[in-house]
Symmetry: C2
Subunit: 154 residues, 2 copies
Amino acid sequence: MRSDLQFYEDIVVGVPERFGAYEVTREEVIDFASRYDPQDFHLDDEAAARGPFGTLAASGWNTAAISMRLLCDNLISRQTSLGGAGVQEIRWTRPVLPGDVLSLEVTVTEKRRSRSRPDVGLMKLFQRMFNQRGEEVMRLTSTGMIKVRHPEVP
Amino acid sequence: MRSDLQFYEDIVVGVPERFGAYEVTREEVIDFASRYDPQDFHLDDEAAARGPFGTLAASGWNTAAISMRLLCDNLISRQTSLGGAGVQEIRWTRPVLPGDVLSLEVTVTEKRRSRSRPDVGLMKLFQRMFNQRGEEVMRLTSTGMIKVRHPEVP
């Protein structure tokens, strides 16, 4: 284990960080939708033109998965992560289109120790995803688990 | 458009439906995680043995995406869907392991007309995903949009 990894005690609450420039290709939009969300407005230009967005748009689950990738590469990779505990909200506020370049703003809004497991800390993360025009495309609130460095300290 | 598609008016509240037998292969677990959630306990057996689940487990986002696929194939495919409006909760209650066979139980717990758009209906869906042993692995509450057949009727 890298010695510079962050533990629960190192997590700072209330400071937004912004990551990434993730380009959403047309190929990814169609690949993801073919596998997990085969609605025609995620797959086919002609059908999408008549659909709810008026143009081909990424599955919301694709956008959520991309936020996880940005979180992994930029935040979780420097933490003693124990995985996700759950999601409290996802809102897809604007369609994500092929060619969009996404960035993620993450704020730890709360942290606390687990009541049942002294070696586990919980962090609430407020995430906002933006496109290259600075428009918000998704907001997501989740809870992540992280190791406590000194479980013996209450 | 198929003439037998369900509109808002056809949606029945409070009746659970159960779908699917989706086999989660080891290949899918690793493919998905490589792309969207590259934490070592989703990718590598040895690291996973020391990780939070004690064994290789699927990304929670992979499980969520699979629930969308089961929803598309079995529910949305017979509806005039307008896409998802958001998610109110996801809880990953048990790890999903390679070889698991997942099924989805869906209940429309609430429906109402959109206040701003008379042609749009909103449905709240309570989803529970189970493995082949009948153990719950995820629960998810979401809101979907569907066309209103007679927008002129208040």
